[in-house]
């Protein structure tokens, strides 16, 4: 078998290695957390692997949420209440299913939209055999690695800007509709109050005249009928 024959074989090997290679397991999701609700996510982590959890509240109420992380033995390794955003990293000591939960149980009427980014392990190389090199990287390759890391930082900061902007835009849209409702309400109240004032004032100077006149005349002139004939 010449080099042409060896290629399919090595490719298959490559593929099998890819199947068993540790991919950057992780998830970046935004979900809605209704009031008085709790949402949990689970992830299987190997012993010694490092994982990180970033979360941020995008819309809802006071933009805060409770969060806790539990290891497979049930021990709470992270717990925060009413946080707007936070970042948490941990090196797994126990192999098993780790659970991280977001809770909105303290709120009775505001839905929250929560974004979280959960990453496990390190980023694997593009091709598995690039991971175990014996020689040093060439200058070109090191430059590529540097650029790759820098671009990852750029993408991360773009995500953060997008989340902040979503938060501000939601607030601006809410403000816009609130201004409309309030203006209409105030105009109606203005009309009601001005008409009401006029009507009330008019009512002070009408109908009630007969009653005061009778009382007034009785106190000035003694009524002849009250004197008894002696």
């Amino acid at each position: 078998m010449g080099p042409a024959g060896a290629r399919p074989g090595s490719l298959l090997l490559l593929l099998l290695l890819l199947l068993r290679a540790e991919r950057p397991r992780g998830a970046e999701l935004t979900f809605e957390l209704p009031d008085s609700a709790k949402q949990c996510f689970h992830e299987d982590v190997e012993r010694g692997a490092k994982f990180s959890l970033d979360y941020q509240v995008i819309t809802g109420g006071h933009y805060d949420v409770d969060c806790y992380v539990e290891d497979p033995l049930g021990k709470t390794i992270y717990r925060e209440t009413k946080k707007q955003y936070d970042s948490f990293t941990h090196r797994a000591e126990v192999k098993g299913v780790y659970q991280f939960c977001f809770s909105n149980e303290f709120s009775t009427f505001s839905h929250k939209t929560v974004y979280f980014d959960f990453q496990v392990g390190d980023e694997p190389p593009i091709l598995p055999d690039m991971g175990n090199r014996v020689t040093a990287l060439t200058q070109m390759e090191s430059a590529c690695v540097t650029i790759h890391e820098a671009l990852k930082t750029v993408i991360d900061s773009q995500t953060h800007y997008r989340l902040r902007e979503a938060q501000d835009r939601a607030r601006a849209e809410e403000l816009s509709s609130r201004v409309s409702y309030w203006s209409v309400g105030e105009t109606v109240a203005l009309f009601l109050v001005s008409f009401g004032q006029v009507l009330l004032l008019k009512s002070f100077f009408t109908e009630k005249r007969p009653a005061p006149r009778v009382v007034h005349s009785q106190s000035l002139r003694p009524a002849p009928s009250t004197e008894l004939p002696s």
Partner: protein
Amino acid sequence: MALPLLLGQLLALMGPGDAFYLEVRELEEKCFIQEIPDGTVVIGNYKTELYDPAMEKYQPSPQWINLFVFVKDPENKNLLARQYGPQGSFTFTSQSPGEHQICLHLESIRFALFYDGKLAIHLDMQLGERSNDYAEFAAKDKLTQLHLRVQQLVEQVELIQKEQEYQRWREERFRQTSESTNQRVLWWSILQTFILVATGVWQMQHLKSFFKAKKLV
């Protein structure tokens, strides 16, 4: 020639594997929001499992448990409303930029679950560029390692560019909302001042004529 086929099949097997999962009950709907620019391809790899109380662990779901996927675009139009098997992937392409809502729920198509069935959905959603597979690339075009690295950088830069364009669209919408609020506040204030002055004048005139009629003035 048979190799690409084998490649494809093996790659399809590489589902979410041990991605993170969430626990649901039957018919319980879970929704996720993805804020994406237009023309983004979203691929969701999923795997469902059923909790076996006898063995006290999750086993792969039987064939009669199906996943229903509903995707709504920012204008509340249905982009995707389909039923999938217990394992596989769903995909859609966004037509307009903004917040897309992806809702999933599990349903057993034959008969209801006997016990209080706990189900788990393993989910792995990939957007745009990360759906490329470098091994396939390398095989097809016989590229060197350096070429692959540069290719990865090119894709990252394209992702950044797309996100920046989307950012421009978002900023424009934000600016429009703010300007409309500003206009509304301005015009309503002027209108209300006019109404205030007009009702004040009307009140005085009306009361003056009322008192004149009552011969008090």
